[in-house]
């Protein structure tokens, strides 16, 4: 019975990973689609491939943070993880339906925290882990913003004497393929590891692995495959918000935004910091937009994004808490 429950919750975790890729597909493809470098169909395939192969580049530090750095590992049970996943998935579906670019990462963290608190009270939370995550909720998009601005200004300065604009744009369209690939690597490397962390926590809680275990290879491959399939399935509903409604992008702007976002994601993955890939690319796109002028950014849309950020962790926390409480009261 316990094994059946374990397999079921692992399947739910992989489903969350799939929805993560589905929900975040727009982040990976919006800039290359809005600048017409790739068609949407080819763009999602491009992103999915690099989502999958990200496991060849990144270690599993983010997974370790999720499994052991957010909620006390001793609090995790199959029920806690299940409730956390349900909270995160429910929040993701809600924001997907309304076309809001939210953060699957923060939804998962909020969900696990809500379920953990429902079981064991506030002492279930690891303060230092939450501290690190909370700080980088703000730092990651701001870093993306400043880097996006810096890269675009640097590129514009480097090429300001170049007269053959068409050739220049053609060149930037090609480099945008590279920057989009780098961003998808960062996305896969960061987001797939969150599900890896959840499954690792499950396996440890079910005593299938010791507490000091690292992520098994089958978990690595299945999580990357799930997120890649989710990306491939698309997230077309959100693409308009990310790519073209926040600010208008030229190939050089798209390339700069993705380069900035991927640099941020590579850094955070290397340091085991779970961040929102959505926040990061949004910050980078805003940074690129402000090279023109502040009014080049459609702040009404960006404002809706900020509200989604503020509500994600509490929203997923509340749903997970509500889902877990019947289990807790029934004991």
């Amino acid at each position: 019975m316990a094994t059946v429950a374990l397999v079921f919750v692992i399947a739910v975790a992989l489903a969350f990973d799939y929805f993560n890729g589905f929900h975040d597909a727009a982040n990976s493809i919006a800039t290359v689609v809005s600048t017409r470098v790739l068609s949407p169909r080819i763009a999602v395939a491009w992103a999915a491939v690099f989502n999958f192969i990200a496991f060849l580049i990144f270690k599993t530090k983010v997974a370790s943070t999720i499994a052991k750095g957010v909620v006390q590992p001793s609090v995790f049970t199959i029920g806690v993880v299940f409730a956390g996943l349900v909270g995160a998935i429910a929040w993701d579906l809600l924001t997907w339906y309304f076309g809001l670019p939210t953060s699957s990462s923060h939804a998962l963290i909020g969900g696990l925290a809500g379920a953990g608190v429902a079981r064991a009270g506030w002492s279930a939370l690891i303060g230092s882990g939450f501290q690190k995550i909370a700080v980088f909720i703000v730092i990651a998009p701001i870093l993306g913003l400043f880097l996006g601005f810096t890269i675009l200004v640097g590129v514009m300065w480097a090429f300001h004497r170049y007269r053959k604009v068409d050739r220049l744009n053609h060149g930037f369209r090609r480099t945008q393929l590279l920057s989009a690939a780098a961003y998808s690597l960062g996305h896969g490397g960061n987001d797939a590891q969150k599900t890896m962390g959840v499954i690792l926590a499950l396996l440890i809680a079910a005593h299938h692995l010791p507490a000091s275990a690292s992520v098994p290879i089958w978990v690595v491959l299945s999580c990357h495959a799930a997120i890649a399939l989710g990306t491939l399935s698309g997230g077309w509903r959100i693409v308009h918000t990310m790519g073209s409604r926040i600010t208008k992008l030229q190939p050089v702007g798209g390339m700069s935004a993705e380069a900035a976002a991927s640099a941020t994601l590579f850094f955070t993955a290397a340091h085991g910091i779970p961040v929102s890939t959505t926040h990061t690319i949004t910050g980078a796109i805003v940074g690129v937009g402000t090279t023109q002028r502040l009014s080049a950014v459609r702040w009404g849309v960006a404002g809706r994004v900020v509200w989604a950020w503020i509500l994600t962790i509490p929203g997923a926390f509340a749903v997970a808490w509500i889902v877990f409480m019947p289990f807790h009261l029934a004991r």
Partner: protein, 88 residues
């Protein structure tokens, strides 16, 4: 006309302040990220502010009235009955 700092450097300044304010809450091994981000933001805040104050958009300085020989290829004809004062 007096130049003022626009909204763009102020926006960057606020974002820079946010990064600096998070330093105490950041784990010590990662504080350099906050400082790096804040330094980058401070740099652009200053550059954008200087652009607003001194950049090409600033109105030209008022010029002294140009002498006629600066603008006309030939010496102007004397005004009828005048003492040789050039026409404007």
């Amino acid at each position: 006309m007096r130049r003022t700092i626009g909204r763009r450097p102020l926006f960057f300044f606020v974002a820079t302040l946010a990064c600096a304010a998070l330093v105490p809450a950041t784990p010590s091994d990662l504080r350099w990220v906050d400082w790096f981000t804040a330094a980058l933001g401070a740099f652009w805040t200053i550059m954008l502010a200087l652009e607003d104050l001194l950049g090409p958009g600033a109105p030209p300085r008022p010029e002294r009235h140009p002498r006629v020989e600066d603008t006309m290829p030939f010496a102007p004809p004397p005004r009828p009955g005048a003492g040789g004062r050039p026409a404007e």
